[in-house]
């Protein structure tokens, strides 16, 4: 039981750490226009970090 829980907890920690680090890294100024091209449409809508950034 313990290997399972330790593995999942550590992977979740890695994921969340990388998620937060990625969010704190600002998008380069000159790339902002290009973001519109990759519009968060259809299915990808929900995990799209561009959209989240616009919301907050």
């Amino acid at each position: 039981m313990w290997p399972a829980i330790i593995l999942i907890v550590s992977l979740v920690a890695i994921y969340i750490a990388s998620y937060i680090l990625n969010k704190r890294t600002p998008i380069p100024e000159e790339c902002r226009e290009a973001l519109d091209e990759a519009s968060c449409s259809a299915c990808s809508n929900f995990s799209c970090s561009h959209k989240v950034e616009e919301e907050e």
Binding site: A4, L11, S18, T25, E37, A38, A42, S44, H50
Partner: protein
């Protein structure tokens, strides 16, 4: 694993067992990001990159962590977490160190955590009846080569499909077929064409 059989594996994964037209993986970007050729190419570049890295990582984690501890049943949750964190890390690195690369590929990265092609290929490389005659190292090479071929196949179809779709925009399609329905029929015709490639390797 000799060079010829690796080449055959790439061609097989790319053309014959094509990820979109034969395995139905990655349909969302196929329909969603294929309106312009430029964005289709950017998307397929991002998918290819992440697919190869994610397949390698998933394979290594499976055979060096999950199998020794007898916790193979965790593979779904482990794979999705590995893929999701890889996507975040790659995006962060591109943002920080390579602006041109971020501009062309990076902007599509957030869209591909939920791309089933990547998880599908990582899962497909691990199946239960792994032959005892094949070493883990050779399996690793085969897995990464398969991922490379699959990514190339994805790019090929995305490019062809987006080119056709650009032409479709200006053609006279009945009102009720406009948009997705006619695109799906085009995809069906492409799929028929690809059935003809069975048996070339």
């Amino acid at each position: 694993m000799d060079f010829a059989s690796l080449g055959a594996a790439i061609i097989f994964a790319m053309l014959i067992n094509n990820v979109i037209l034969m395995q139905f993986l990655g349909i969302c970007p196929f329909l969603g990001v294929s309106k312009r050729t430029s964005s289709a190419i950017g998307m397929s570049g991002a998918v290819l990159f992440v697919m190869v890295i994610a397949s390698m990582a998933a394979y290594l984690i499976y055979y060096y962590i999950l199998v020794p501890y007898n916790i193979e049943y965790l593979q779904i949750i482990v794979f999705i977490l590995v893929i999701a964190s890889l996507v975040q890390l790659v995006e962060m690195v591109l943002k920080k160190f390579s602006k041109p690369l971020y501009k062309s590929l990076g902007i599509y990265l957030p869209l591909i955590t939920t791309n089933c092609a990547i998880l599908g290929v990582a899962q497909g490389n691990i199946i239960s009846d792994f032959p005892s005659t094949m070493s883990v190292g050779a399996g690793f090479v085969l897995a990464s080569v398969t991922a490379l071929g699959t990514g190339l196949g994805f790019g090929l179809i995305m490019f062809a499909f987006s080119s056709i779709r650009e032409k479709l925009e200006s053609s006279n399609v009945p009102e009720s077929w406009k948009g997705v329905p006619i695109s799906l029929v085009v995809a069906g015709l492409m799929s028929i064409a690809f059935i003809g490639l069975v048996g070339i390797v």
